[in-house]
Amino acid sequence: MKSWIPPLALLALAVALHFALPYNLAFLTRILIMAVLVLSLDLVLGFAGIATLGQAAFYGAGAYAAGLFAIHAWADPIAGLLVAGVAGAALAFISGLIVLRAHGLTLIMLTIAVAAICHEVANKARDLTGGADGLRGIRMEPVLGLFEFDFVGQTGFWYALAVLATVFAFLTLLTRAPFGLSLRGIHESPERMAAIGTSVYWRRVAAYTIGGAIAGIAGALSAQVTQLVSLESFSFTLSAEALIMLILGGTGRLYGAVLGTLVFMFVHHWAAANDPFNWLFVIGALVLAVVFFLPRGLVAVPTALKRLGGRDAGT
């Protein structure tokens, strides 16, 4: 399969969904924003091999940074994205210096602790963040000075799609550049990369920082589209759900991240609409089924089918 086909197919799918579900644009926009967050996690986890359950720390930092910037400084959406990216990157860099010295369970616990502290700080700084009531009063200017955020969510949708596509393209280039290749090398064999003179630690810090910036941008999108930021943007649940979506889709492949997000969000939407009380059964079973039958994620479905078909043809 040519490498440009999956992303192009996803783009076509997004546009198709827009016309298929014109009344659900807000929901589709949430999927797009979530996909940006899951992509950031894919870079950190899928490519650099850093197992984290605290990606929400940077999402939240970006959301609050964008919200506060819009309220107190400038309500331009693009400028907000950049500020949020810097905020996410800064937090990821500083926490990464400590966190990335650890491995395995310890690393996971440290990332959780960082997000928990951010949550508590935002709760404490009630005068600035609104605490548990949420940060309100975000009123965005038109995107590029041209497109007003509208009631139906048209602008929000295309804006989020454009950001997602940009992030996707950026990550595609990054992962094919020498930096991305060295990340893969570190993931597969840290010892060998260290032996050939690569600073494993600093590469990981760099990947973590870039991942933080992208997660921050995702948070900013959510703040700008919803016009409200809540403490939940730092929540453990968000980190965990992003992780589930990523592994569901398949790690280490960018379109896997997008696919996983899409499937999880749609299943959740459908299950929660039909039987909200018991939707955890559906998600739990889905997750288990993927781990047991598609250990490499949904991106492996075509290969699995092909293999199945081949075997059938052979018998």
Partner: protein, 388 residues
């Protein structure tokens, strides 16, 4: 369906809207948690709404009323806004209702401003929500509304010193401020104000600190469920009651979790706007219908908030149909006899002016169950937090 949405939709999507379902049907979208740890709220709202519908039929004035329920999962403003958008655009609802958490309610403010949709809040208790849009109406209560009268009552009962222990987040801090301001205004002294972490369920350290400070009373605010359970237990087990430190609370002894608290709850004093044991025909009729339809249901503040909210929506529909601004205008002067007692809409704050009762937990001799026995009306108050 308002003109604003039509215009917006027509401008961008060139497709025709599906014809409004039956010209005379008014739709109400209910946004509430039906899944996750807070699923009980959504369930209670729905049961209360259906109880009201069973009592009063599906028509208000000349209009049919239809309710559509959406699951928001928990405190999640992104989801809340996206559901509201879907309800307004696809389902073309004329009224919104529900909203358990403040951020979820606040997230729809820009939408309802634009679409001019009356939005009835069944719970979310932060005073300032209603400042964000003229279209918010609230049928629950605010923390100032119950905490401040409680402080004054405590002072009048001879308590001169108090400690406050509240959960460290928005509502808890509101409750602390309200209690403190009212208690000190009377001349009482708050000797210690402890803010307890949100995730805590082991309250021994805080309660032991209160005991060592030995005030006349301890005022508390906790989120429902597990924290309330361990707090009241710890209060008893660490001997605060015997030491003469009176428990003062608000929603802590609410009916759904009350039986689970067990004997530890007996004697706890709270100030609140609704007790399941309220002695009135309206309350008895409400509870009889509720348990007839849903044998396991227990009426509490969430059910009565939704029940009165449904009443308010029926009255607005009867008065103004789908005309949002006219409906809100009509609502401002409404008053009725609720299961909680007489209520009246405050035209400025658009929150109910209602009685606040002082209650004490006791075991009912007939049923053997724990109840919040009303021992007196403290005050008839509006939203005291509106100007803060």
């Amino acid at each position: 369906m308002t003109r604003a949405i039509h215009a917006a939709l027509a401008a961008v999507i060139a497709t025709a809207l599906p014809a409004a379902a039956g010209a005379d049907t008014i739709k109400v979208g209910v946004v509430a948690p039906f899944s996750g740890p807070f699923a009980i709220y959504g369930k209670q709202y729905q049961e209360a709404v259906e109880t009201y519908v069973a009592q009063h039929g599906t028509t208000a004035g000349e209009h049919e009323i239809e309710f559509i329920y959406k699951d928001v999962g928990g405190p999640n403003p992104d989801q809340s806004r996206s559901l509201a958008q879907e309800l307004l655009i696809r389902d073309q609802v004329d009224y919104l209702a529900g909203f358990t958490f403040t951020p979820n309610a606040l997230a729809v403010a820009p939408l309802i401003e634009q679409s001019q949709t009356p939005t009835v809040i069944f719970n979310a208790a932060t005073s300032s929500i209603n400042k964000e849009s003229e279209f918010y109406l609230r049928t629950s209560y605010t923390l100032w509304q119950v905490s401040a009268p409680l402080a004054e009552w405590a002072y009048d009962q001879g308590m001169r010193t108090a400690a406050t222990t509240v959960t460290d987040y928005g509502p808890g801090i509101d409750a602390e401020n309200a209690f403190k301001a009212a208690f000190e205004a009377r001349g009482g002294e708050v000797v210690d104000s402890i803010r307890m972490p949100l995730s805590t369920t082991d309250f021994t350290p805080f309660i032991q600190s209160v005991r060592d400070a030995a005030p006349d009373a301890v005022f508390t605010f906790l989120p429902g469920g597990p924290p309330t359970f361990t707090y009241t237990k710890t209060y008893n087990e660490n001997g605060l009651a015997e030491a003469g430190i009176k428990f003062l609370g608000t929603a802590e002894t609410e009916e759904v979790n009350l039986q689970g608290l067990g004997d530890a709850a007996i004697g706890l004093t709270t100030a609140y706007h609704y007790s399941g044991a309220h002695d009135s025909d309206e309350n008895r009729a409400f509870q009889a219908k509720l348990t007839e339809l849903f044998p396991d249901a227990i009426a509490n503040w969430a059910s009565v908030g939704a029940y009165d909210g449904t009443h308010l929506i029926y009255q607005m529909v009867a008065a103004a149909g789908s005309d949002g601004p006219a409906a809100v205008e009509a609502a401002k002067t409404m008053e009725w006899e609720s299961p909680r007692g007489p209520v009246k809409m405050d035209p400025d704050a658009r929150t109910l002016i209602q009685n606040v009762y002082i209650r004490e937990v006791a075991r009912d001799e007939d049923t053997g169950k724990l109840v919040n026995r009303e021992t007196g009306v403290i005050a008839t108050v509006g939203d005291l937090g509106w100007d803060k």
